[in-house]
């Protein structure tokens, strides 16, 4: 390698350590390049996952077989789930925007362990490849659903093993990112940035990182136990061998419930950045938002049983988990209250990122409140395993985390690429998204209440109307997502040059160049003011 001459005044895109442009990306330890590597990988998988979702909706447009066989449908919802959960929303916001922005927002030159950071991305790619192998190897793609429930996951003849191993490997990527962020936040904040002067997005990344670190090993062990059970018939979960299938559900949800907070907390952090900037007003209840973030992360560990009300747990466990689940709703409500109070009497500047943030509030509240229907044992027994659950989950994860992701993308796009995007197309994409989203998922609540089960490729004639509406919603949603993504891709290439601080934000990332230089700051800033000290 020739001795590189690094000009610290040019953008990080211009820094080249290798002749080959590909090597410059995949061997870079720059947190910004790694964030973008994650962005491109995640968006690629997102296109696949979204098209699988569309295919499922087209199958459900009419009763009976329309475009695929029942077994293909089983494989489709499994693959859709594995991609969307393990490859997209779990790494999601921390891996993309956390990597790109966390060091800048706390006034650091990089994360604490840049090489470990690059390794996390490589592990992510390895895990993804292994998981994808399940689609082409053996006797057909897995058909267990993304939850791999025992005992079916080791009884099915489909190729589950690579998917399990892939998910296991992906866990390590998540753990290492979490570890990196915890150390970065503890040790690398700029002088003067005390804990209570740190912006809220880094705060949510901090809480998330603890969940990644503590909960992910549980799913790792659980997946290993399923692999061992499948290969050596040990008897952990198989009742025929004296095992307990409910133990699998306990272990799986001990990780997978906290995992939904890995997904949603950073999105809440993004909303807490976007709203004050576009109101030019300090956030209402800064400390209350921090406290509720930590409380969600903590209480979130103890509510996993609400996925298992009908699995045959003891009555004591039923009321205990229901009580704890209701408790975790409180900090989320505190946040919603704080965001709305921030908007109140702010000088609102209605730009695209705020559209998405308001979309988040609207969709996430529907998702959160329908969650209470599922958190209460009496009502959950009625709608368990119906499309009601699927609708709730998509409102929270897609309407919440997904919308938060697009808010972040539109908010920080000028910083990441130094370009502006087309506002008209962005608005068309946003409104199409909201309309398509509501048409797609709202009918699924009613269908679920009427008794339409989830994960079925066929249904009775009485469910036809709602499914037609839902399928057309899916088409509108996919078209709008295409508009949003194409708009951003073309703007990144050909957009007008963006000013350094297009939204008049005052957190540190708006004081550096767009795109930032290799070391972000010429001199490390000294922080004196709070993160949201606007004049108002």
């Amino acid at each position: 390698m020739a001795e590189p001459t690094i000009n610290l005044e040019q953008s990080f895109y211009e820094v080249k350590n290798y002749k080959s442009p590909i090597l410059n990306w995949i061997l870079s330890t720059d947190h910004k390049r790694i964030g973008l590597l994650y962005l491109y990988s995640i968006m690629t998988f997102f296109v696949v996952g979204a098209l699988l979702g569309l295919a499922m909706k087209l199958e459900l447009i009419a009763p009976g077989k329309t475009i695929m066989e029942a077994q293909t449908y089983n494989a489709a919802f499994t693959f859709h789930g594995i991609i969307m959960i393990f490859l997209i929303i779990i790494p999601g916001l921390p891996a993309v925007f956390g990597n790109f922005l966390l060091p800048i927002m706390i006034g650091a030159k990089d994360v604490a362990f840049p090489k470990l950071n690059l390794l996390s991305w490589w592990i992510y790619v390895l895990g993804a490849i292994v998981a994808l192998l399940s689609q082409v190897m053996g006797d057909g793609p897995p058909d267990t659903g993304w939850t791999f429930y025992a005992p079916y996951s080791f009884k099915t003849t489909s190729t589950v093993l690579p998917a399990l191993i892939g998910a296991f490997i992906l866990g390590f990527s998540s753990i290492l990112t979490g570890l990196n962020f915890i150390v970065t936040i503890h040790r690398m904040r700029a002088p003067g940035m005390t804990w209570l002067k740190m912006p809220l997005f880094p705060w949510t990344l901090y809480a998330t990182a603890w969940i990644q670190l503590l909960a992910t090993p549980v799913v790792g062990i659980t997946l290993l136990m399923v692999i061992a059970e499948k290969m050596f018939q040990i008897g952990f979960f198989d009742p025929a061998l004296g095992g307990d299938p409910i133990l699998f559900q306990h272990l799986f949800w001990i990780y997978s419930h906290p995992a939904v907070y890995i997904m949603i907390l950073p999105a809440m952090g993004v909303i807490s950045e976007v709203i004050p900037t576009f109101c030019q007003k300090t956030i209402f209840g800064y400390k209350a938002i921090i406290a509720s973030t930590l409380l969600i992360a903590f209480v979130g560990y103890f509510v996993w049983g609400h996925h298992m009300y009908t699995a045959g747990m003891s009555d004591t466990a039923l009321w205990l988990f229901s009580l704890l689940t209701f408790l975790v709703a409180i900090p989320s409500a505190i946040k919603i209250f704080n965001w709305i109070a921030t908007l109140y009497k702010g000088s609102i500047n209605l730009e695209i990122p705020l559209y998405w943030a308001l979309g988040f509030l609207f969709l996430f509240m529907i998702g959160g409140l329908t969650g209470l229907v599922l958190g209460s044992v009496a009502t959950d027994v009625y709608v368990h395993d119906t499309s009601f659950v699927v609708a709730h989950f998509h409102f929270v994860m897609f309407g919440g985390t997904g919308t938060g992701f697009f808010a972040a993308l539109h908010y920080w796009f000028p910083k990441m690429y130094g370009k502006s995007y087309d506002n008209t197309w962005a608005k068309v994409g946003f409104w199409g998204f909201i309309i398509g989203f509501m048409m797609l998922y709202m009918p699924m609540f009613t269908l679920g209440m009427q008794g339409m089960p989830r994960r079925y490729f066929d249904y009775l004639e009485q469910f036809h109307g709602g499914n037609i509406l839902s399928s057309f919603g899916a088409i509108i949603l996919i078209a709008s997502l295409a508009i949003v993504i194409i708009n951003l891709v073309t703007s990144a290439k050909r957009g007008k040059k963006a000013p350094k601080n297009p939204w008049d934000g005052i957190t540190l990332e708006w004081q550096v160049d767009s795109p930032p230089t290799l070391e972000n700051f010429e001199t490390i800033p000294v922080v004196e003011k709070g993160p949201y000290d606007y004049k108002k």
């Binding site: 560990y301 103890f302 049983g305 009555d315 004591t316 466990a317 205990l320």
Partner: protein, 94 residues
């Protein structure tokens, strides 16, 4: 780094810890020889906990580290214990 001095542990301490880990391992095997019924699992777990404590304190250097790290480890163990207790709210009352 903070102002905590670099503490150097003598080899002798490490050897004593190693020896006690081996003794405890043997003890946790021997205890299964005694007929304790369902308490033999509890016995084995107690020995394992003592061993964990030794490894964390000496080999992982926690005894000589900042208070904040001790608090972190304490919280992690507390979360783990809470998860186990809540899981047993199902198994015990079934």
């Amino acid at each position: 780094m903070d102002n905590h001095s670099k503490h150097i542990v003598p080899y002798k301490t490490y050897l004593i810890i190693l020896a006690s880990l081996i003794v405890l391992t043997i003890l946790s095997i021997l205890i299964t020889e005694i007929e304790l019924g369902e308490y033999s699992t509890a016995g084995a777990l107690i020995f394992a906990s003592v061993k964990t404590f030794l490894v964390l304190s000496y080999f992982m250097h926690l005894k000589f580290d900042n208070l904040i790290l001790k608090i972190f480890v304490g919280l992690v163990i507390a979360v783990f214990v809470a998860v186990v207790v809540i899981t047993f709210m199902d198994y015990i009352h079934r």
